[in-house]
Amino acid sequence: MEKFDYLQLIKEARKNTKNLKNYCEIKIAVLGDSATQQFVQMLKANLYRNKIFAHIYEADFDMIDQEIYTDDSGLYKFMPDYVVLYTSTQKIRDHYYQNTHLDADQIVGECVARICGWWERINSKATVRIIQNLYALPFERPFGNYGGRLKDSLVGVIREINNCIVSKLSDHPNVLLNDVEYLASFHGRKNWYDEKLWIYGKLLCDPKCLLYVVDNITNIILAGLGRLRKCLVLDLDNTLWGGIIGEDGLEHIEVGREGIGEAFFLFQKYLLELKNKGIIVTVCSKNNHEDAIEPFRKHPGMVLKEDDITLFIANWDNKADNIRRIAEQLNIGLDSMVFIDDSPFERNHVRACLPEVAVPEVPEDPADYVSCLNQFNFFETLGFSQEDSQRSGYYRQKFQREEARVQFSNIDDYLQSLKMKAVFSRFDRLHLARIVQLMQRSNQFNLTTYRYNEKECEAFMDNVSEYYPVYVTLKDKYGDSGLISVIILRVSGIKIVINAWLMSCRVLSRGVEQFSMNKVVEYAKSKNCEFIEGIYIPTAKNRMVENFYEQFGFRKTRTDASGQIFWQLAVCDYRPQKNWIEELKEEEWQTQLS
């Protein structure tokens, strides 16, 4: 049976009723104006394949308004993490045909107001992420091409509703788009709709196409859990250009606007787009280094330049070892990497040695490279911040620092030479998007791995009496590292509880933890607290910080039934930690250049 089969998923849903130990649990409410049974079964099964056990609340058919506007509805009792608003083009079509006396603006206005009303009502009642279906454009066009230019044709109305939904998203950061219209046009509207099953069972689309909707939402949820791919590892010969640089030479490799070179040129354009969106691009090639780097420096047809490549490894070692080295140097997990190589031998080797790395089958024809990489949707993300576009620059600075490090005989001299400056400041609206993103992405240096969303962070920010949520930004003479740490403190009587402490691994071993702990203790004193309590919740990935609190003089007090480990420090026992970071006020950050 093929992997991605409607009946297969339905069958799996029936079987996978038990939660497994290492599976993550989430709660999803599905509210639809079309049938949701098939969708819910498949979503459950597909999430289960990704080691997620979903508890799903399925509202009755076409009861979106009732669920959302009734205070004690099943939806609110269920307290979901996600609400899927599973809306259908066919319902808009009904509405359109019933209201032919209205003009297009009125119909669009009503539909959009209804949807925004849902979002706002849900947001006023609960802290959740909302996944909103976009509408697939209809297959029917009674006025042919001419209908496409009419505002009041069905296609015109739906197109406008989609535009309005998208434009409203910027005011609603917790609403995520399920771009059903992309899926329908990508797979073809002719095959998308199934009028028979709409009439019989009110199915959103053909059951085969339902798989795409399910997979799309699965990707969103994985991204929300921090299960993101962050890094591309690329082969060179016949992957980034046609030919073999070591044999054919610079003049004879194929890349650029001419001939088959355009296939590689377009692939590189796509890769550059990923790099600009924050994906780390690295190279791993079996070549002499000077041969391999030459096209990046000299070939006019190359889109990717030396500066775009965060780590460039060209040697004759085996690729699995090289990829492991890349992961170590970047401090990222193997499960956040994607490896692209035209050689089946290399692909199979990496698959066998490093099963966590995603290794897509690369098609024979380089013209298909983009569509191959594109179809996996490896790089789904819930947001995009300035941080992302600068990510590869941060890593370049990091490697410059490491080179400089060798010149110093001891670490203190080196750290001092960096002239580091940091801001330690309460959450503010300006930094909220990046704060949430860091919470999603940090796995290793993360004491409790709580993935708070925008609204929860805002609530911490506004709760001045109980919470002191802070972010830390860092820069030095090599450049600005941006917002790299988040700490959430809760004042509880004479105790400060460290609810969350996480940090980007980019800035490990620079003294940020020591600097921050000094600030935490300072805060505890200002609040007349006598104790600080730290919590460590073990995950598969955060062993790195298992004994984090010990180095600061905390003592382990207890381990509760769920495995959480509690540490405690008496404020009077704390010995300030040495570090070489100068503190700046937020307002000094921009003006004072390193």
Binding site: L7, Q37, Q38, K196, L197, I199, Y200, L203, P207
Partner: protein, 91 residues
């Protein structure tokens, strides 16, 4: 009357869709005779049968079948119409 080979294949699909190897279909069988024959599983049944035999039911057909016999007859008729021999459908 539907051919034995068609009934045999249909039986396999029923077992698969309802996840029950014990199901033995018969001509007069209706939704009442099988636990879990709801609208969700009816759609699954349609999807599975259409896929297995490479045929398409009409909307009227899926809404009006009264029992398994009528369903099987329709499958056979569609096979014949498309020039296939029901006897050879077995696999």
């Amino acid at each position: 009357m539907a051919n034995a080979a068609v009934l045999e294949e249909l039986n396999k699909i029923f077992c698969e869709v309802f996840d029950d190897d014990q199901i033995r279909i018969f001509r007069e069988m209706t939704a009442k005779d099988i636990a879990g024959w709801d609208s969700l599983n009816h759609i699954n049944l349609i999807v599975a049968v259409e896929k297995r035999f490479d045929i398409k039911f009409t909307t009227r057909e899926i809404m009006t079948y009264e029992n398994v016999g009528q369903f099987a007859d329709a499958v056979e008729e569609k096979l014949l119409k498309s020039g296939r021999t029901p006897d050879l459908i077995r696999r």
